[in-house]
């Protein structure tokens, strides 16, 4: 749910993003655990290009949050594959994910560790393999084992293109937990039947009440399926903005 409505001038997104980053961190602080400055997905209102002002707003927010008490851990970002350390200002940009979206004018921020992000999976299925989606996802969760800090929430993107499917999977994770459609339920049941359990130490709950699928149209010869995993510590914040 949106936490508050903010009215902003048409072009100045910087203070808004700054507020959003800080709000999210203050939520982390309320349980005294920094959410981390690691992977994040962010979503912006329609037709807002990923401008320097947005990047700057996020950077400023991160800078303030790392100086606060208790602090956010400073960005831990390197240049692949050389592993040279990147300074914070460039760091924020690499992890941001900007989507043109027509339904809602909001920005969301969710964080998780590399343990979850590293078990992401993409399969470019054949159109004839639509019946194998549950198998592919369940196998990916099996391979992930305890690494993504189960019980997890599963974001699944079906359709679009290879890159688009992964974006859909990330966006799907923003949908609040609740009712599931038949395919989501099928995947949920299969994943929990694996018995991987909390932290991979065995148990009934591997998926925490949520398989989230987001679909988009794709080429007739194509069926991209992407999985993005959220650990149990699903800390997120959304800000809805009234935009003239």
């Amino acid at each position: 749910m949106p936490q508050r409505i903010t009215r902003l001038p048409a072009v100045n997104w910087k203070p808004f993003l700054k507020t959003s980053t800080l709000q999210s961190e203050s939520r982390s602080r309320s349980v005294r655990t920094p959410g981390g400055s690691r992977c994040s997905t962010s979503r912006y209102p329609p037709h807002v290009p990923f401008t320097d002002a947005i990047a700057e707003g996020v950077r400023d927010g991160v800078r303030e949050a790392t100086a606060a008490i208790p602090p956010l851990r400073p960005p831990n970002v390197v240049s692949p594959p050389g592993r040279g350390r990147i300074r914070a200002p460039t760091a924020a940009q690499g992890c941001l994910h900007c989507i043109s979206h027509r339904e809602r004018r909001s920005a969301s921020r969710c964080s998780r560790s590399a343990g979850s992000e590293n078990v992401s999976a993409l399969k470019m299925c054949l159109p004839s393999e639509a019946g194998d989606i549950a198998r592919f996802i369940t196998e990916a969760v099996l391979r992930a084992g305890g690494k993504p800090c189960p019980p997890v929430i599963l974001g699944i993107g079906i359709g679009s293109t290879a890159d688009g499917a992964m974006s859909l999977a990330k966006e799907a994770l923003l949908r609040p937990l609740g009712e599931m459609n038949p395919l989501e339920q099928e995947i949920y049941d299969a994943v929990n039947a694996l018995g991987i359990g909390p932290m991979g130490l065995g148990g009934k709950t591997t998926c925490l009440g949520g398989v989230r699928i987001r679909e988009a149209g794709c080429h007739t010869a194509s069926l991209p399926v992407a999985l993005n995993v959220q650990c149990w510590a699903a800390r997120r914040a959304t800000v809805e903005v009234q935009y003239p």
């Binding site: 400073p74 343990g115 369940t138 099996l142 065995g202 510590a233």
Partner: protein, 178 residues
């Protein structure tokens, strides 16, 4: 709950996978880059009976603010030299691979801490020092005094591995389902 304190000795050899332990004493954090640096430059602390924690903490004004575990599997092929040097316990989350299981045989244990519970861990820790600070906050080796850190023995010194058992059962269930 079995109480352990560092430096660890042969008492770790009698621990069994699945048992819960409570660890006190000095532990040292190390992630990917610290392992690589230690292999190159040597271990900066006394490794005899030491416990190494896969963790990149948040530190502010010489205080541990958060200290959750990172995914241990990334260190699967980087940990042998520590055990060879006398390290008796590796601590992390998510489990470790076959290589580590063999390296720990008759030598030490892998202990699991719950991922995401960084605040709980920090509440039982006091910062004592730091090595390789140039690697940055998460990758540096932090020397931390801990009190009653609640852990689960996930790999014991006889080769029993809780994560591996769960995985094997899950594979069987997967084969049955699909």
């Amino acid at each position: 709950m079995i109480r352990l304190s560092t430096p660890l000795g042969d008492e770790v050899l009698s621990l069994k996978a699945g048992e819960r332990v409570s660890l006190s004493g000095m532990i040292y954090t190390a992630r990917d880059e610290a392992h690589l640096r230690m292999q190159e430059k040597g271990i900066p602390f006394d490794p005899q009976g030491a416990a190494v924690y896969h963790c990149g903490p948040v530190v502010k004004d010489n205080t541990i603010i958060a200290a959750g575990p990172t995914t241990s599997a990334r260190m699967n092929e980087l940990s042998g030299f520590l055990v060879d040097a006398g390290v008796r316990a590796l601590i992390g989350k998510g489990g470790m691979g076959e290589t580590v299981r063999k390296e720990l045989r008759a030598e030490g244990v892998y202990l699991a801490f719950t991922g995401g519970c960084a605040a709980l861990a920090a509440s039982r820790m006091t910062l004592k020092g730091v090595f390789f600070e140039d690697l940055g906050m998460p990758e540096a080796v932090w020397a931390i005094e801990c009190r009653d850190l609640p852990l689960t023995v996930a790999i014991d010194s006889e080769g029993n591995d809780l994560f591996f058992d769960v995985r094997r059962k899950a594979e069987k269930r997967f084969d049955k389902m699909f």
